[in-house]
């Protein structure tokens, strides 16, 4: 486990020192928010879209953070240095995923209040559930994002392939998160009907985390 924290700490430190991708992600999320509000013509009852919109914004803005994760290793062939070291592949993956989770969490923490103000949304109606939903969905995004970032890091057409592969895989998480968030924002909280989405999120997180940990070693060695 020491290795995992070494890697997570390294990533967090390099990112927090410059805050480049966090800032970009925060800025980008505002931009998308503005774009979407034009489309939806916020005047009317846009509140119903709240949950959906929020997670779209997170997905697009979060991609900026997740892409940087392995791109950072690429610039000086750092990934080779790590792979040649005694660091196990799963520790590398887990460390990066934890760092990304924390960074996405920060972006969300910035975006949520803004979002709340713009859309008159009250996040504190069901605080525990809201936190749980965010945590589960963000971890799902992180795992898929980190894994595909690793998959595509050495590809010539990385910039093209990443969105084409990542977003469809993310759709289950995003849909569940959207549904739950909307229920938490404007509905009566998590009802029996929404349970399927909670289960979907949990199942998704477990399945993809284990798949990633099992498969990462095949990706890193060329």
């Amino acid at each position: 486990m020491g290795h995992v924290f070494t890697i997570a700490w390294k990533d967090l430190r390099s990112e927090l020192r410059t805050k480049e991708s966090i800032n970009a992600a925060a800025a980008f999320s505002m931009v998308i928010l503005v774009l979407f509000s034009f489309v939806l013509d916020i005047s009317g009852d846009a509140r119903d879209f709240g949950g959906g919109l929020l997670w779209l914004v997170f997905a697009f803005a979060g991609a900026l953070v997740l892409n940087r994760s392995f791109a950072r290793e690429q610039s000086n062939d750092c990934l080779d240095a790590l792979v040649a070291s005694p660091l196990p592949g799963w520790a590398l993956f887990l460390g990066k995923a934890i760092a990304n989770f924390a960074l996405l969490g920060i972006v969300e923490l910035v975006a949520l209040p803004v979002f709340g103000i713009l859309f008159n949304a009250n996040w504190l109606r069901f605080p525990a559930w809201t936190l749980l939903t965010c945590a589960l969905a963000t971890w799902g995004m992180t795992v898929i994002g980190t894994m595909f970032s690793a998959l595509t890091v050495n590809l010539r057409l990385r910039e093209l392939m990443l969105p084409v592969l990542v977003y469809p895989m993310l759709i289950p998480v995003l849909m569940a998160a959207m549904q739950l968030t909307t229920a938490l924002l404007v509905g009566e909280g998590i009802t029996a009907e929404d349970w399927i989405w909670v289960k979907l999120l949990i199942g998704f997180d477990i399945i993809f985390t284990s798949l990633s940990l099992a498969l990462i070693d095949f990706i890193l060695v060329s």
């Binding site: 894994m147 998959l151 595509t152 050495n154 590809l155 010539r156 057409l157 093209l160 392939m161 084409v164 592969l165 469809p168 895989m169 759709i171 289950p172 399927i196 979907l200 998704f204 399945i207 993809f208 798949l211 498969l215 095949f218 990706i219 060329s222």
Partner: protein, 228 residues
């Protein structure tokens, strides 16, 4: 020899399909609620099942490739995925025609339909990814991992009618529903056509496999002449 067997299977599955068509169109009665159009079911349902089976086998081939690094496993994975995608398109097309007639629109954003579309997009992404990687070893490895991830979407699509209330009909096949919900003659016909379509899919897959193998040898030859 191999080619002859392939030809024979192709011919047999073709004849089988013609025979099935004859039964479907001329012998089976119209369905009570839907009328004549319900017959599209005989292609819609087996089409999807064939497609999903192909994806499943492609997933297995991918696992095999990761374990053994056998290039043939990778060839099977592509060929199977391509066949699966073709049948996904068939399923989408028949479903849309059916929807147009029964529901009056080509498309609704119902969970089953949406997941089926996502499934299609994911496997299309897989095929696209393969085209952008030049080095076969790297291509095989990355594609295999993606294929394993992608199969999760197939499971969700398959189970979506059980998990959500959908506009799309729920399970009707007896092995899924656990009871007889369809006229046995009709269900029997479904299995007949499933069999024919699967044989047909097998033929296409073998053809693609041959092509893929040829392509690989060609690439190698070209590389070799360059290095001279």
């Amino acid at each position: 020899m191999k080619n002859k067997i392939l030809m024979a299977v192709a011919l047999a599955s073709g004849l089988y399909l013609v025979r099935n068509l004859y039964v479907i169109l001329l012998q089976l009665p119209d369905e009570a609620a839907q009328g004549a159009i319900y017959r599209i079911m005989y292609f819609h349902v087996p089409g999807w099942i064939t497609s999903f089976s192909a994806y499943f086998l492609a997933g297995l081939a991918s696992v095999w490739y990761l374990i053994k690094r056998d290039p043939r496993a990778d060839e099977y994975a592509v060929a199977l995925t391509e066949v699966g995608t073709i049948f996904t398109m068939l399923g989408l097309a028949t479903g849309m025609v059916w929807a147009r007639i029964i529901w009056g629109v080509w498309w609704v954003w119902d969970p089953r339909l949406t997941w089926a579309f996502i499934c299609f997009l994911i496997y299309a992404g897989y095929l696209m990814l393969r085209k952008t990687i030049d080095e076969p070893g790297q291509r095989g490895r990355i594609a295999a991992v993606v294929s394993i991830f992608a199969f999760v979407s197939v499971i969700i699509t398959y189970k979506s009618i059980d998990w959500w209330r959908t506009q799309h009909p729920g399970a009707v096949l007896s092995f899924r529903a656990g009871e007889q919900r369809m006229d046995p003659a009709m269900e029997g016909m479904l299995f007949h056509n499933w069999f024919a379509l699967t044989a047909f899919a097998g033929v296409i897959m073998m053809l693609r496999l041959g092509q893929e193998r040829m392509q690989r040898e060609l690439d190698a030859l070209r590389r070799y002449t360059h290095s001279l």
